[in-house]
């Protein structure tokens, strides 16, 4: 268990003694990474739909007789209103129309139904954590799955790698958290110190050098403690704070340079209005102007316990934003598209039956969207062969049971997109092989990647 290498987890589990224990492992990993397993140019944008998206009204299992007005009096979407997905079984929510060019014309959008994990937690917070750190059931894990992908394949000590990942968010997404902090910001333009350029530079300061051993400015204030330097007892967060300060100092300029000129998306790429669209636009700008590899952002509001609405209600509006976002990214990043994956995650699906508040409650599996130049478009896990009528209630008579473990979806992305090998996959997703061995079916690859 110790080689799970979670710096925080280790500290928490074993107290300060554990702190010492983790150090050799960290050290070891850094050396490994320095040799460079993979420095490919593959990139990824991930979008977390916070709150639990209702997969049943996203990709509609029309062929299931239980999808009807009796079970969903106000949410039911009639056949004539929904979008045809071409397999004679599944339909898409009408508001997904903007992403249909990616699905129909480009054939590069995979809609993967019934994704979840065993012993599904119906707690938002646990389940979001499980998805992001990749170890379902472990509530104490504090290190993200995508952080591990990066730290295992790149030398994060090398300054040229200090901006290989970022969250376009006011806080760091857990999937990217780890001992080497990556930047997080809502808008690249605001990622700067105040004052004129000279004062900002003075405030930022610099590390001590041989010629001038006293460090300066903020970089100086966040330097690591040399032996005996501080009277403080080192604690759980001493290094995290120092590393964050250093990461800030090291990336401010890079992000400002990227945001210096106003960003104009490619003509025809229209991002949705509002915060989500703005974040996507930031992400596209960073993909074009920096060497960032993984970007994460959130879209909230999916916890539709009440007044979820039909085509034009709250849920429909969110799906509309999401679909327009995919369309805009696809049009805007045409040059980068071949090496890019855009993927969604959500902590769980929702009850197949509507509740009394015209909404749905927490349930089990839901839908993932994966798009990119290397994606084989189509509907997965929602066709006449794999979906029996009544499957809507296949779990405990209330929920839609999972067919695919989310780790298998990411497994395919790690292996086929990022080029990891199996041994690396077990490091990025600890316990992968074990879980696969215990229950192979949900881990069977869907082959949505070319």
């Amino acid at each position: 268990m110790l080689n799970r290498r979670d710096f925080l987890r280790m500290n928490m589990a074993a107290g300060t003694a554990g702190f010492a224990l983790t150090q050799p492992f960290l050290f070891h990993r850094q050396l490994l990474a320095a040799n460079g397993v993979n420095t490919g140019n593959k990139r990824m944008i991930f979008i977390f739909q916070r709150g639990g998206n209702d997969g049943v009204n996203t990709v509609i299992p029309r062929g299931d007789r239980e999808y009807n007005r009796a079970n969903r009096p106000t949410l039911y979407i009639p056949k004539a209103d929904a979008l045809d997905l071409g397999n004679g079984f599944a339909q898409a929510h009408p508001r997904l129309e903007p992403m249909m060019e990616l699905y129909r014309d480009a054939g590069q959008l995979a809609m993967i139904h019934r994704v979840g994990y065993a012993k599904q937690s119906r707690s938002h917070f646990d389940s979001q954590n499980f998805w992001e750190h990749g170890v379902p059931g472990d509530s104490e894990m504090k290190e993200g799955m995508f952080f591990r992908q990066l730290v295992e394949t790149l030398d994060l000590r090398n300054p040229k790698n200090n901006f290989v990942a970022a969250s376009v968010s006011s806080s760091q997404l857990l999937a990217l958290r780890g001992e080497n902090p990556f930047p997080s910001f809502k808008a690249a333009r605001r990622f700067r110190l105040q004052g004129n350029e000279a004062l900002a530079k003075k405030t930022l300061g610099q590390a001590g050098t041989a010629g001038k051993p006293v460090p300066r400015g903020l970089i100086g204030l966040y330097e690591a403690d040399a032996a005996g330097m501080s009277a403080r007892t080192p604690n759980l967060y001493t290094e995290l704070v120092q590393n964050t300060g250093q990461a800030l100092g090291a990336t401010l300029k890079k992000v400002q340079d990227a945001a210096r000129n106003a960003y104009e998306p490619v003509a025809g790429a229209t991002y949705p209005n509002g915060e989500f669209g703005n974040k996507l636009k930031e992400a596209a700008m960073l993909i074009k102007r920096t060497d960032v590899k993984i970007l994460g952002l959130n879209i909230g509001g999916w916890d539709t316990h009440a007044d979820q609405g039909q085509a034009n209600g709250a849920h429909g509006n969110l799906l509309g934003q999401l679909a327009q976002g995919f369309q805009a990214l696809h049009r805007d990043l045409e040059k980068e598209w071949d090496d890019l994956i855009v993927v969604t995650m959500t902590e769980f699906g929702r009850t197949s039956k509507e509740n009394g508040g015209k909404g749905t409650d927490h349930a089990e599996s839901s839908v993932m969207f994966v798009a990119g130049g290397g994606v084989k478009g189509g509907v997965y896990n929602c066709d006449a062969d794999r979906w029996k009528s009544g499957d809507l209630f296949s779990e405990k008579g209330r929920y839609l049971a999972r067919k695919t473990d989310f780790r298998a979806v990411f497994g395919e992305i790690f292996l086929k997109h990022f080029g990891d090998d199996r041994a690396l996959l077990d490091k990025v997703v600890p316990g992968y092989s074990e879980a696969e061995k215990a229950d192979p079916d949900p881990f069977r690859f869907l082959d949505f990647m070319i």
């Binding site: 806080s171 105040q194 927490h362």
Partner: protein
């Protein structure tokens, strides 16, 4: 670039050795370190005043005092009282009677030239002035007398000001105690009573000339405001009988896109009611207490519980906004005005909840839990208001277990959630007259089962029936000399002999009409009717109202004055022409309009005299399939606590609806020693006990004790323990031991879960041996944004000034009272430490240090220099090291500060000693910003 990991690895040896040294130091924390630690955890960081207080009274005594905030006398803390008071608004109290209402007819004069000098005096005769109902203005949708020629532009000259005056009767001025003006205005005005100036806003000049522009001290006025102004002193100008109220209203420029004036006058036996303005003021309250109050622990815990029982202002606001009654009010009174009311009500709901948590912060957890479950904010936030019999909504049932009491998956199952959701069916909210609202716990345990306005009994004074004269709107009933529609037909003197005779209701097409207008469809769109009626206001009933069911729109008149109109006819003109077609349909079953006749007392003749009630009714289209008008006059008594749903002076409160409660049998925690059986058949109000029995049992359940103690330990002691590491016994042994002790304290009181008792065990103020006092606990927690901001203010002795404080909190990711997710803002440090947050913190404290606008704070470095004898940069470094870091700052950090203060903006050497005056002050302030930016200040 220095290699951090080699440094870390190199540190290992020294670090392991230092552990035992640290343990050694445990027993020898200096007094200063202890004081700093206590103020970092029980308070929002050290302030100069609190450090000396603790030093004077002793650490143990200080903690004891903080554990018993009721013993702290804070009546002398005027800074706190005044700052909190400024954030309230005056409202006209519920007992008020109106002397002048919106819609009353006023004489008006357009300010193209100066009006006669005596225009506002009682003796002036405005006979040549035109007349129209208030409000006056143009450009927004709240004006009834629309002044199309006022806005200057290419086509017309326009004018800047408008003069209006009206008369009202006061039978006995000696009984008038409190007088209020309620004015919606845009942009500035002066109000006069019987010729005396009584109120002035955004307008200069004595008297202001007709071409004077409105302006405020902060610059040009941009948008309209709506406020209540207590004008108690003006009551002396009232006379018996006829009085004159007059206003002049001015625009800020002639081309302005709008102008508004809607004045109302009221009096009441009670002083003004106070309400909170909006959520910003509630948010600021948390900072004001956190920075200024001596009851620091109570302030910290108030924030802690509010965040634990997380709710969201925005969802409350949206909920009220979507209520049909408020939507109606918005169309009737204007969106801006009602949205301000809704923002204030939603903020009031959040405030009410926060105040309970603050007041009971050291009391029983069971009270907090029950209060939260029944607080309107939570009932809305997690959809209890939508939890109906037969169709339960699991949202709240899940979260009360997972987030508010037991902790995730801590001895409950999905089945328990489903059973508990059934217990909560029928829980909802209502509004109640504030003075009738019972206190807690009665409000929770014996809730009202009635709606906001419940009629106890009523007497019909004018029912549907005969005696009406009517006129079909083929043309205007009367035109004036210029050929325009006239009000003459609404007056008592009008001769209606030639009109037709009929019985109410009038109309066609929906089978609810007695006088059926078979020729109306396709031929005419309006109907005029009038009747002489006795109205007896001397009845002892609480309300005498005119109730109007209608389709599609109407204007109502009494004795020649307009007394109300449907929301869809606001812009139809005065009076609306006979061929006016109503833009939005209204059906009879969409709700009746109610006009309070007591407020119109000055207009009404008592029996045996008769009053002329008149209506004009308009259709939504010529070909419409139906039209209806059915007026009644009713005297009513209401059940106790009743208040109209949209009354801004009511208080939102818990209500239980027995008819929506699932009375089936329920079992929770089945097969455990804490199993709860709830019998079937709890009818009526007894049904509320299903959920209350479970809530009461929760605070005695070990899962709740564990979860709340873990959260308290995380808040006050250390992040190094969680429910999971407690159960797995993998947390540090000292923390496990403290947790067991605290749980024992939880169960040590007759009623388990007394927070003060649990905290006293955790803090161990007398022996000072618990893990709280370990050097491993000292300075080991990362500040949350509110802790960072409040501790910055306290370190500098800064005042909170109006500004963007709440925006800074939002930028740092902690928008108080507005969290989407019900888990509350995180307590664990790693959640707050990322580049975005760190950058926002640095920007904040550097701005605060130089008194930048962005920080919403003010402090004086000069008075600190004088008060503490600080001269050199070294003096400042020493002072802040001692105050904020207990003298523990490493030398290397201090040299960064001194390097900073002795270099110019370009980074070249420029010793502070060579600087004078403002540049010296500025450089020192900048250095203070750098001191607060250091890594050590992220910790507490």
């Amino acid at each position: 670039m220095k290699n951090l990991y080699f440094v870390s690895a190199g540190l290992l040896g020294a670090f392991c050795l230092s552990l035992s040294v640290a343990e050694e130091r445990a027993r020898s924390l200096t007094e200063d370190q202890k004081i700093g630690h206590v103020l970092n955890r029980l308070a929002y960081g050290p302030s100069l005043g609190d450090v000396s207080r603790v030093r004077e009274m002793g650490i143990a005594a200080y903690i004891e005092e903080q554990l018993h905030p009721e013993r702290i006398d804070e009546s002398g803390n005027r800074r706190l009282q005044e700052a909190m008071d400024q954030r309230n608004l005056d409202m006209i109290p519920g007992s008020a009677e109106f002397l002048v209402r919106q819609g009353k007819h006023w004489h008006y004069f357009k300010g193209t030239v100066e009006p006669p000098r005596e225009w506002a005096q009682p003796g002036f005769k405005p006979t040549a002035w035109p007349k129209g109902p208030s409000g006056f203005g143009y450009g927004d949708d709240d004006d009834r007398t629309v002044l199309e020629d006022m806005q200057g532009g290419e086509d017309q000259r326009g004018y800047l000001s408008l003069y209006v005056r009206t008369e009202f009767d006061v039978p006995d001025p000696s009984v008038i105690r409190n007088l209020f003006l309620k004015v919606a205005y845009d942009d500035g005005f002066v109000g006069y009573l019987n010729g005396h100036e009584i109120l002035r806003v955004n307008l200069r000049g004595n008297p202001p000339r007709h071409d004077q522009v409105a302006s405020s001290s902060s610059g040009t006025v941009e948008r309209g405001e709506h406020d209540t102004f207590p004008v108690k002193d003006a009551a002396r100008f009232l006379v018996k009988g006829r009085n004159v109220l007059a206003f002049q209203v001015h625009n800020h420029r002639i081309g302005s896109s709008d102008l508004t004036l809607i004045p109302e006058l009221a009096h009441a036996p009670d002083p003004p009611a106070r309400v909170i303005e909006g959520v910003r003021q509630v948010q600021e309250r948390m900072h004001l207490r956190g920075v200024y109050s001596r009851k620091q622990l109570q302030a910290v815990l108030g924030e802690f519980w509010e965040n634990h029982f997380c709710t969201d202002f925005d969802k409350v606001e949206d909920y009220i906004d979507d209520l049909p009654a408020y939507e109606r009010k918005q169309t009737a009174e204007g969106e801006d005005r009602v949205e301000r009311q809704i923002a204030s009500e939603a903020a009031g709901i959040e405030l009410q909840e926060y105040e309970f948590f603050y007041e009971n912060a050291l009391g029983h957890f069971g009270d907090l839990l029950l209060y939260s479950a029944t607080s309107p904010s939570m009932l809305i936030y997690l959809d209890s208001v939508l939890n109906l019999k037969g169709e339960p909504n699991e949202n709240y049932a899940r979260e009360i277990l997972e987030l508010y009491a037991f902790g995730v998956d801590n001895r409950y199952t999905q089945r328990d959630i489903e059973e508990l959701a059934r217990c909560f069916t029928g829980w909802t909210i209502r509004k109640m007259a504030s003075e009738d609202q019972p206190g807690f716990p009665k409000s929770a345990r014996e809730p009202s089962t009635e709606p906001s306005l419940a009629v106890a009994n009523e007497k019909v004074l004018m029912d549907l029936g005969p005696g009406w004269k009517y006129f079909k709107g083929f043309r205007e009933p009367v035109r004036d000399r210029q050929g325009k529609p006239s009000f003459a037909w609404t007056k008592r003197s009008f001769n209606d002999r030639l009109w037709l005779t009929g019985r109410t209701g009038f109309g066609y097409g929906d089978d609810d009409d007695t006088t059926v207008l078979r020729d109306m469809q396709g031929r005419y769109v309006s109907l005029y009717l009038r009747k002489a009626v006795p109205i007896d206001l001397s009845l002892s009933h609480e309300d005498v109202v005119l109730e109007i069911a209608y389709d599609d729109g109407y204007v109502a008149y009494l004795n020649g004055e307009e007394i109300g109109r449907s929301a869809n006819m606001l812009e139809a003109g005065s009076p609306p022409p006979f061929d006016h077609i109503v833009p939005r349909n209204h059906e009879v079953d969409e709700g009746v309009d109610v006009i309070d006749l007591r407020e119109l007392a000055s207009l009404i003749k008592s029996p045996p005299a008769l009053n002329t009630l008149a209506f004009q009714v308009h259709n939504g289209s010529r070909s419409s399939s139906d039209l209806s008008i059915r007026p009644r006059i009713v005297a009513r008594n209401y059940k106790p606590g009743s208040i109209p749903l949209t009354d801004p002076l009511g208080t939102w409160t818990f209500r239980f609806r027995p008819e929506q409660h699932d009375i089936g049998r329920k079992t929770l925690f089945k097969g455990t020693e804490h199993e709860i059986q709830l019998p079937a058949g709890r009818r009526g109000r007894a049904g509320v006990n299903d959920a209350i029995d479970v809530i009461d049992a929760m605070s005695k359940h070990p899962s709740t004790a564990e979860f709340i103690v873990v959260k308290l330990l995380n808040k006050f002691v250390s992040d190094e323990i969680s429910l999971e590491t407690y159960h797995a016994k993998s947390a540090p042994p000292e923390l496990l031991a403290l947790m067991d002790k605290a749980i024992a304290a939880w169960f040590s009181t007759p009623r388990p879960g007394h927070i003060g008792t649990v905290l006293e065990t955790i803090l161990d103020p007398v022996n000072q041996e618990s893990f709280f006092w370990s050097p491993r606990a000292v300075g080991a927690k990362i500040k949350t944004p509110i802790e960072f901001i409040n501790s910055s203010y306290r370190a500098l002795g800064a005042e909170i000034v109006a500004g963007d404080l709440t925006e800074r909190m939002e930028d740092m990711g902690m928008d108080l009272f507005r969290r989407d997710d019900p888990d509350g803002y995180p307590e664990l440090g790693h959640e707050w430490m990322d580049t975005h947050n760190l950058l926002e913190r640095m920007r904040f404290c550097q701005d605060l240090a130089v008194n930048g606008n962005y920080a919403s704070g003010r402090w004086s470095i000069q008075s600190l220099m004088r008060g503490e004898n600080l001269e050199s940069a070294e003096d400042f470094v020493r002072y802040f090291d001692r105050l904020a870091f207990q003298g523990q700052l490493p030398e290397r950090r201090k040299s960064v500060f001194l390097d900073f203060v002795n270099t110019d903006d370009e980074g070249y050497a420029d010793p502070l000693a060579d600087l004078k005056g403002i540049s010296r002050i500025r450089r020192l302030q900048q250095m203070v910003g750098i001191i607060l930016s250091t890594q050590e200040f992220q910790f507490q």
